[in-house]
């Protein structure tokens, strides 16, 4: 328990550091949200100055940071200049959409990668394994952008899947079942894109981790007892190979908010990605900081989940705590 408590404290400190750092970096960027207004001859310098002081942009860095910190504890994460509303509800709405997309893809990718990785490790060197290797490396070499554009092209040409958005115009008229079906149809294309982008490295990792264990002498010893191939793979190789894979799983949770940025922009999924891109271009700082913070929260949470899983599954980690 002390192990996890210590990890939690570390995480809080890390988040604080990230917030200061991202705040400071954004200070370094030239101009702010109101810079375009100041070059507009129809708006007086006085008006722009008033707007700046209204939003607190004229204050020095520590004070603005303090204000922002207070707003975090209030739960609104600062104000979006572009929409004039608190950032939190804006971000939560978008994050929900992103998580629906990435959560589904993550689950699907792992559910496919584990059996596929185990399968090719069990058949290492055989032609089926080599063919799998060719397929995964092909997908690794295709840039994600090309992949997503190809999917978009496919969808537009065939008209099989809706492109863009996450619901149809007639969404409100649908029943519960119809609504689920509608969202699922819109979800299909971006999910396929994300799964294709994340699956190959996962399969590679699982395969190589399994192969390493399958060559260990304790597996040979078990084979000398007449162990079945299934039991070797599931009871011997998989649990022992699990550690790096659990860490990898933690990373993929960590990337849940950021991994989908490109796919969201290309396939117009109303997630955090497009919001972040717009906010960066407009220098809507508090939206950017909030998005970065949320991403960091996921990173920290992903690592914590991985640590907790390792703690639960690996007796060696627990052992070290006693000593």
């Amino acid at each position: 328990m002390r192990y996890l408590a210590r990890r939690l404290l570390h995480s809080m400190l890390l988040l604080l550091a990230v917030s200061i750092f991202s705040f400071a970096i954004l200070q370094l960027a030239p101009g702010d949200f109101f810079t375009p207004l100041s070059v507009n001859p129809q708006i007086s310098a006085h008006t722009v100055a008033t707007l700046r002081s209204q939003y607190g942009l004229d204050k020095p860095f520590p004070i603005r940071y303090e204000h922002w910190l207070r707003s975090v504890f209030r739960g609104d994460l600062g104000l979006s200049f572009a929409s004039g509303t608190p950032v939190a509800p804006l971000l939560v709405f978008r994050a929900r959409n992103t998580l629906l997309l990435t959560g589904t893809s993550l689950l699907l990718a792992w559910m496919l990668a584990i059996p596929f990785g185990i399968w090719s490790a069990a058949r290492r060197g055989k032609w089926t394994d080599r063919a799998g290797g060719v397929v995964t490396s092909s997908f690794l070499t295709i840039p994600d952008l090309v992949l997503f554009l190809a999917l978009l092209l496919l969808a537009v040409r065939t008209g099989w899947f809706p492109t863009g958005g996450m619901m149809s115009a007639r969404f409100d008229d649908l029943g519960v079942g119809g609504k689920v079906q509608d969202v699922a149809a819109h979800l299909f294309l971006p999910v396929v894109g994300l799964v294709l982008a994340t699956l190959p490295p996962l399969v590679r990792h699982i395969r190589s981790a399994m192969i390493e264990v399958l060559e260990a002498p304790f597996v040979l010893a078990a084979r000398a007892h007449g162990i079945s191939e299934r039991r070797v793979l599931l009871r011997y190789a998989l649990p022992v190979a699990a550690n790096p894979l659990i860490t990898l799983f933690g990373y993929s949770i960590a990337g849940m908010l950021s991994a989908s940025l490109l796919v969201e922009v290309v396939l117009s999924w109303p997630g955090v990605g497009p919001l972040l891109v717009d906010a960066i271009l407009a220098k809507d700082v508090y939206v950017v900081v909030a998005a970065v913070m949320l991403s960091s929260v996921f990173l920290v949470a992903g690592n914590l989940v991985a640590d907790a899983l390792l703690f639960a599954t690996d007796p060696r980690i627990r052992t070290e705590q006693i000593n």
Binding site: P217, L220, A222, R223, H225, G226, P315, T319
Partner: protein, 289 residues
């Protein structure tokens, strides 16, 4: 046949205990080849691990297999333990030709031949507890109920000199010597008749080597176990082996009673090996004392 161990039938042998025993293990004409693909080419080259190996191990006796690394000792051990299939030849265990059997028929026979590896840390599943590790072979062979398997595992722990109160510890929590004891207990779980020790002592310090050797000797006496002991350490071999087979470049070049091998080596490689051991005579003196 010149390579076959004739120890049991050799009247001159001091340890011949005049046994009319059939050999427990008889390996004849065994060869193993691997096919290796040339880089950037479809051409394949055949790499021979060992050729035309014949040897016999008698019940309750120890045959040492010595030779430099790369001589094919470990490949041979893996073939005899039925972990790999030899290319040609015959492996007979108590008169039964093992290579004629299919996977299913082989399953009950696997219990007869068990192997102990060089590095005990990698030879034990790090995720299982001591008790689970020893009970695992019983589980795989579908023997007994869970409490019965545990009782047997605890009994084996005591037998190899481990405290059975440590049943819940994982391999990592044991020392090197203790881990090798754990591996021995696991190998004994199925009451095998032949133990293949593949450099099983070389990762241990001198004190532990002696202790484990004593344990093995006790177990051999108690259960009439046969050992095929693969080693590169001639000094150790002189202490425990009844017979020695010398392997050189994939072939057994000389094979005879240990004392005879040390006193009158024939093959030039054997002589070379012996010359590298200091004061062989003093060891032999010690042994006969």
């Amino acid at each position: 046949m010149q390579e076959t161990l004739g120890h049991g039938m050799n009247p001159e042998s001091p340890q011949s205990n005049s046994n009319q025993f059939e050999p427990l293990l008889r390996v004849s004409g065994l060869s193993k080849q691997y096919v290796q693909r040339r880089p950037f080419s479809r051409q394949k080259i055949v790499v021979s691990a060992f050729q035309d190996v014949s040897l016999e191990v008698f019940p309750g006796e120890t045959l040492a297999l010595v030779g430099e690394s790369g001589a094919g000792k470990s490949s041979l051990a893996r073939c005899i333990a039925l972990l790999e299939r030899p290319s040609t030849g015959k492996i007979e265990l108590a008169g039964e030709n093992l290579l004629a059997l299919n996977r299913k028929q082989l399953f009950p026979i696997r219990r007869e031949v068990q192997m102990i590896f060089q590095d005990p840390s990698s030879a034990l599943n790090p995720r299982l507890t001591a008790c689970e590790i020893i009970a695992e072979p019983l589980l795989i062979q579908g023997e007994g109920t869970k409490p019965q398997r545990r009782a047997r595992a605890l009994q084996l722990m005591e037998q190899v000199g481990l405290d059975s109160a440590q049943e819940h510890k994982t391999p990592l929590e044991f020392s090197g010597g203790q881990r090798q004891r754990l591996a021995i207990a696991r190998a004994l779980a199925l009451s095998p008749r032949l133990l293949i020790l593949d450099e099983a002592l070389s990762n241990l310090d001198a004190a532990n080597q002696t202790l484990i050797l004593e344990l093995l000797a006790d177990l051999q006496a108690a259960h009439s176990l046969s050992f095929l002991h693969i080693s590169h350490d001639l000094r150790l071999v002189s202490e425990f082996a009844d017979d020695v087979a010398v392997m050189y470049q994939g072939r057994i070049v000389e094979s005879k009673d240990t004392r005879k091998l040390f006193t009158s080596p024939e093959h030039s490689y054997t002589k070379e090996l012996l010359a590298s051991v200091r004061s062989v005579e003093s060891i032999l003196l010690e042994r006969s004392a």
